[in-house]
């Protein structure tokens, strides 16, 4: 029993981070139907920005206090990722806004490679694996036989809080209303006086900030980072977004959770499951897409006239 619970915990923690990255995919897709393949790199940049803030900006006297360091590092990562995401939108995607859909898609792959190489070449020491500071203790507590590190608690709590905040923003505020309107029909929204360009920038900024936070969470959990962490994370998060129903905020989170749990449980219960865990994650994806093509919670993209 405790083994099952332990694996559920492992899966939930893994899923929470994937879900947090998936939110960015889903938001951008919901509004401009672009699969932003560079989103995994935005996540990676968050991780590096957090490390840079810790190493180069915060004085030693501060870094000893996690209550100041953690928010500062999260803020730096969120801001940097957000800025890079907005920059990518402005420079790479906006000029192609009305081009055939394949063009921005391929551009996104280009942006992804460019960002990865930029970090590799220009971040000091990034050519090798760097270690991330232990801002939160890597110890934890035990419930019966189930070990739960504090870093995992932090990962899950922050993912859930951020998802709820995002949902409240989209459903309760004026700007959120503008986002929903833009995602339903961009042309009409524009006719109604909504500055759709601003709304699109907002979607990139928010998605970027969430990915940046996810980057710090990953850094704290795994106390190391290298410049290609974005690729695997991006693929899994994209899968999560599709699984949950792309364009759907809760769907992204649920999709992440399902992938995390499938991986953990496959490792535990299927012989040699660890070797095949990615396969099982994609088997679930294929099953869901065959039986329910709109994803678990349904796609939320308006059919365009």
């Amino acid at each position: 029993m405790s083994r099952l619970v332990q694996q559920l915990v492992n899966g939930t923690v893994l899923g929470a981070t994937i879900g947090l990255i998936a939110l960015g995919y889903t938001m951008v897709y919901g509004i401009i139907q672009l699969i932003n393949f560079a989103h995994g790199e935005i996540f990676m940049i968050g991780s590096y920005a957090g490390l840079a803030a810790y190493t180069y900006v915060l004085p030693d006297s501060v870094t000893r206090n996690p209550w100041i360091t953690l928010p500062a590092v999260l803020l730096a990562a969120g801001a940097a990722s957000s800025a890079v995401a907005v920059l990518a939108e402005r420079l790479a995607y906006r000029p192609l806004r009305n081009a055939p859909r394949l063009a921005p898609l391929i551009t996104a792959i280009g942006v992804s490679i460019a960002l990865q190489e930029a970090v590799r070449l220009f971040y000091p020491g990034a050519k090798r694996q760097l270690s991330f500071p232990r801002i939160i203790s890597d110890r934890g507590f035990k419930v019966g036989d189930v070990a739960i590190p504090w870093t995992s608690v932090f990962a899950v709590v922050s993912a859930v809080v951020l998802m709820l905040a995002l949902e409240a923003f989209v459903n309760r505020t004026r700007l959120g209303k503008a986002m929903r309107a833009t995602s339903q029909d961009r042309e009409t929204a524009k006719l109604m006086g909504i500055d759709t360009d601003k709304v699109i920038v907002l979607a990139f900024a928010l998605g970027g900030a969430l990915a940046g936070v996810a980057g710090v969470i990953q850094g704290i959990r795994f106390v190391s980072l290298d410049f290609h962490i974005g690729f695997v994370a991006g693929i899994k998060a994209f899968t999560a977004a599709v699984l949950g129903g792309i364009g759907n905020i809760r769907g992204a989170m649920l999709g992440g959770l399902v992938i995390g749990l499938v991986e953990a449980l496959a490792t535990e219960y299927i012989p040699q499951g660890g070797a095949w865990k990615d396969v099982w994650a994609f088997v679930v994806l294929i099953l869901v897409l065959t039986l329910r093509p709109q994803g678990l919670l349904g796609e939320q993209v308006a059919v365009r006239a």
């Binding site: 899966g11 806004r97 590799r120 694996q129 795994f222 106390v223």
Partner: protein
Amino acid sequence: MLRGHRQSFRGAPPRLRAGRLGIALLAATVVLSACGSNKSETQKGADGNGSDKIVKIGVVAPLSGALTAIGVGIRNGADLAVKQANEAKKIKGWKIVLAPEDDTATPDVGANAATKLSDDKAVMAVIGTLNSSVAEKVAPILNNQHVVMVSPSNTNPSLTQGNDPAKKVRPFEYYFRVATTDAIQGPFAANFAYNTAGKRNVVVIHDKKTYGQGLALQFKGQFEKNGGKVPTVETVEPDDKDFSAVLSRVKRFNPDMIYFGGEYPAASLLTSQADQQGLTVPLMGGDGIFDKTYIDVAKQAGEGDYATSVGAPTDQLPTAKAFVDAYKAAGYADPYSAYGAYAYDAANSIIEALAKVLPDQSKIDDALRVKFRQAVQDGSLDGVTGKVAFDEFGDTTTRILTVYKVDGGAWKPQKTEEFK
């Protein structure tokens, strides 16, 4: 509205677009010329005397990516040997130029690097690769072009002895290595774990790569033969970060040690996450985890972990002192790491052979390559890591290995022994 947008895009002033293109091209040129100037600098550094003919030694190793720490050590070790040979005018009438290529520890990238190097007719030999999986792609390419390859670190047995251990056949005549194979390293680790460390119940995990899997299974075979128990063999993805699921799974077996076949990026995370789950038994691995980065990442969780590596500890060998001093004096930014000294020996075995066949030659042709290969095969020198000589399969005749243990934030040698 949609049309209006499109028109405004199409209607952008042509000069503006041309201007943007211009900036992009300019940026590209700057980047390219920056790379170019780097290269010409290193060539100039090695040339010195303009009248000498040029022979090149390639290096294929990870110079970027997760395994950079070890790869850069290999390049620097080779670079040092080449510099010393040029200064001493080891080969009359010829200058040696080092041609390093980055393989990012990826087989396909390594294959491209090998193709590029073998297209260059001045390249007689290549030092590398770090990874056995990359060597599987690189060795056939170089072998076909009659370019000698000497690896400082490939440990998978199949590279020299073929896939069937019962019927040894050398697959690549032009492939040599100065590292001891996993057929020796794995059992060596198993003997240490059973006899010296007193472990009886060891969980084996590997990353499915040529190196990791080969090493892990060699360990398992010998450990079980010694009477130990291996309750399960688990696998992980080398690029994974989250190993909590697989660790939760192996906990049920109450192992007294984890043996990991793989490299330090995954191993360091594995040992930290094992600690977090309350699985505080030591982790043991091969030369792939024997790097300072492992300790930097794992910190406290790494204490008490073991690694085996080929040869005796570089900084304790009396023969290696000259190498360590010269390396320091040369002022390389990065440490020589696990394989710098082996790359240095590999380079010297090549240089010795070149010195035998090159001096009275006017140009490099295939007859010379055949002669050169034989010279490498027959060569023998006292290297900094021990005697450097090759058996009929291209394997080193030296079978010395060392067990290291993390103690107080550093790898400390525990036991050096010749494996029989």
